[in-house]
């Protein structure tokens, strides 16, 4: 994540801006798709659930493999995504609220996470201390090379989906998720994980994933929004028929943190060889494939090995002493 660290610093105090890129009118099979979507939008995408009429893999799964990235903003601010991190407002933060993207919280309608009072205190305490952390707990864990977890991985850099019989695999910028498809059983509930345990199946154009075994440690971003180790997440990845976009729709249930289940929605766009790499949404390198059409591949992802924390007041990554004895 060498490039990531730099990009993070650059983006730490601003909304992700669409890089000034030339749209290249390269004709290809994909040109028949709908007009190319913008990289950043300020409104939600409407993608209905239904049958899948697009291409399928040999095992019957809808073929959604490839590169994807969210269309709103990074993890600076969960409920006002384009306003910047706590204490680090963007220019857009001065505009009327309806000129920025809506909250990622799509239910309830007020766009707020329905925290229990004591949980709201914890979230606000983190947000108030984020810019000048005086305790370890105020450091956003991904700044220390923790995996981004659920749901933050879905709006932290672009990522790649690879599909196999029985599996959907997400290669995120920070961490990896293996989603088992079918009738698998979840692992023992005592095992709590940064990315949880994911079992899924396809319903038409929708990948439905049940995420249990969450450790709640990853946080949802720099505003300190969170779930606990008692949470379950019901994810629905609703793919548009043209394969160009999907909505990540995730319902969080955790009676120890929330007064009721609530839902987050993250509009997401596909990136292909027709898009210019931009070091964030589409952080890829060219394939050295002489004589073949232009294509890109995911570079090595490194973080803790770089000996350094990044972003948002990050301190205290121990890398000089052994961390394990095995």
């Amino acid at each position: 994540m060498t490039r990531t660290a730099l990009a993070t610093l650059l983006l730490a105090s601003s909304t992700i801006a669409a890089p000034a890129i030339a749209q290249e009118p390269t004709p290809s099979a994909n040109a028949a798709k709908s007009e190319r979507l913008p990289r950043v939008i300020k409104e939600r995408l409407s993608i209905p659930e239904g049958e899948w009429t697009g291409p399928r893999l040999a095992d019957g799964q809808p073929d959604v493999s490839g590169f994807w990235s969210n269309m709103i903003a990074n993890h600076n601010n969960f409920t006002d995504p384009q306003a910047g991190a706590p204490g680090e407002p963007t220019e857009a933060a001065n505009l009327p609220r309806d000129q920025r993207a809506p909250s990622r919280v799509s239910d309830p309608e007020d766009g707020q996470v329905p925290y229990l009072p004591e949980a709201r205190v914890l979230q606000q305490d983190f947000a108030e201390n984020f810019a000048n952390p005086t305790k370890s707990r105020y450091i956003e864990p991904m700044a220390r090379c923790a995996p981004a977890g659920v749901p933050k991985s879905l709006y932290w850099h672009g990522y790649e989906i690879r599909q196999y019989p029985g599996y959907v695999v997400f290669l995120f910028d920070t961490g990896t998720r293996i989603i088992r498809l079918g009738d698998a059983k979840h692992i023992h509930p005592d095992i709590k994980l940064w990315n949880g345990d994911s079992i899924g199946h396809w319903e038409g154009n929708t990948l439905v994933v049940d995420v249990t075994n969450n450790n709640g440690k990853a946080l949802f971003g720099r505003t300190g929004d969170f779930m606990s180790e008692n949470a379950t997440v019901a994810e629905r990845y609703v793919f548009a028929q043209d394969g160009a976009s999907f909505n990540y729709v995730a319902t969080f249930t955790d009676p120890t943190v929330y007064s009721r289940p609530w839902t987050a929605t993250v509009p997401t766009r596909r990136y292909t060889a027709e898009d210019e790499p931009d070091g964030w949404h589409y952080d890829v390198t060219p394939v050295n494939n002489p004589g073949q059409p232009r294509d890109y591949e995911m570079p090595e992802r490194i973080c803790v090995e770089n000996n350094g924390p990044f972003g948002g007041g990050a301190i205290g990554v121990v890398v000089h002493e052994p961390l394990i004895q095995r």
């Binding site: 290669l171 293996i178 440690k217 002489p290 090595e300 803790v304």
Partner: protein
């Protein structure tokens, strides 16, 4: 190292190679992709002592005994490199990069005694290792190493098929990773050629030939077997051990 042990390990390596060759000839029942290529999908793990020390060694406080997995018996170090290896050995309890949960590199990530899962398509193999956050893509789409390759922790892997053997050229390494817990090492000039082939449907013969003119006087080869994890219900559980130093502070916990 005693001469007898060294000799025994050479015999073992020769015997293993002979066994692998004879077994391959009968490997009709191996899993295959629809394209007909061998399908290495699954969870794999070595039973060998390779990661403790690639060379023949007796048991010690931090390692069980092992006959070694180097076909040539010992690693052909250049004299100065051998001194560095000895320094590494003496400081191994502090300096082994694995203790910091860093990516182990290639080939060490393959014979570290923890499982990894292979996901395979015609265009590539994806290796997801349990320890830390390491992943590796072996491209099998005919692509070449990048023209101006950066130095990488896991190297850049480009594979091709020779019959039922996957031959992977791995290049563009940095000099940060070790080859085992005994301090065996390499420089950024390391170049590895891996060979992956089925012995039977649940066993892979894995070999890695290493060359590095800064460190070794000749190329040399590691041979290990990889076994399919067949424990009922086995799942590759994440092990992001780089988080152990601070994970107690989340979510919103601790007063430090």
């Amino acid at each position: 190292m005693s001469g007898n042990l060294l000799k025994a390990s050479r015999h073992l390596a020769v015997a293993l190679a002979a066994f692998v060759l004879s077994a391959q000839a009968h490997a009709q029942d191996i899993p295959r992709l629809p394209s007909g290529k061998p399908d290495f999908s699954g969870v794999w793990q070595t039973l060998s002592e390779a990661d403790y020390d690639l060379e023949p060694h007796v048991g010690r406080r931090d390692a069980p005994p092992g006959q070694g997995v180097v076909a040539e018996g010992k690693i052909p170090y250049l004299p100065e490199a051998l001194e560095l290896r000895q320094d590494n050995y003496e400081n191994r309890m502090q300096d082994d990069p694995r203790l910091k949960c860093w990516s182990l590199g290639v080939p060490r990530s393959v014979y570290h005694p923890t499982p990894f899962q292979v996901f395979q398509r015609d265009s590539d193999l994806t290796l997801i290792h349990r320890l830390g956050h390491q992943t590796r893509t072996i491209h099998t789409n005919g692509s070449l190493h990048p023209e101006d390759g950066e130095e990488l922790w896991m190297g850049d892997s480009r594979g091709k098929w020779e019959g039922d053997t996957l031959v992977v050229d791995v290049d563009d390494f940095n000099a940060e990773t070790w080859l085992d817990r005994a301090g065996n090492f390499h420089s950024e000039d390391l170049h590895v050629v891996e060979r992956w082939s089925f012995v039977d449907k649940d066993t892979i013969a894995y070999s890695a030939t290493l060359e590095d003119p800064q460190v070794f006087s000749a190329s040399w080869t590691i041979n290990v077997l990889l076994h399919r994890r067949r424990d009922p219900g086995f799942v590759l559980i994440e092990d992001y051990c780089q988080t152990l130093e601070y994970d107690q502070f989340y979510p919103h916990k601790g007063d430090k």
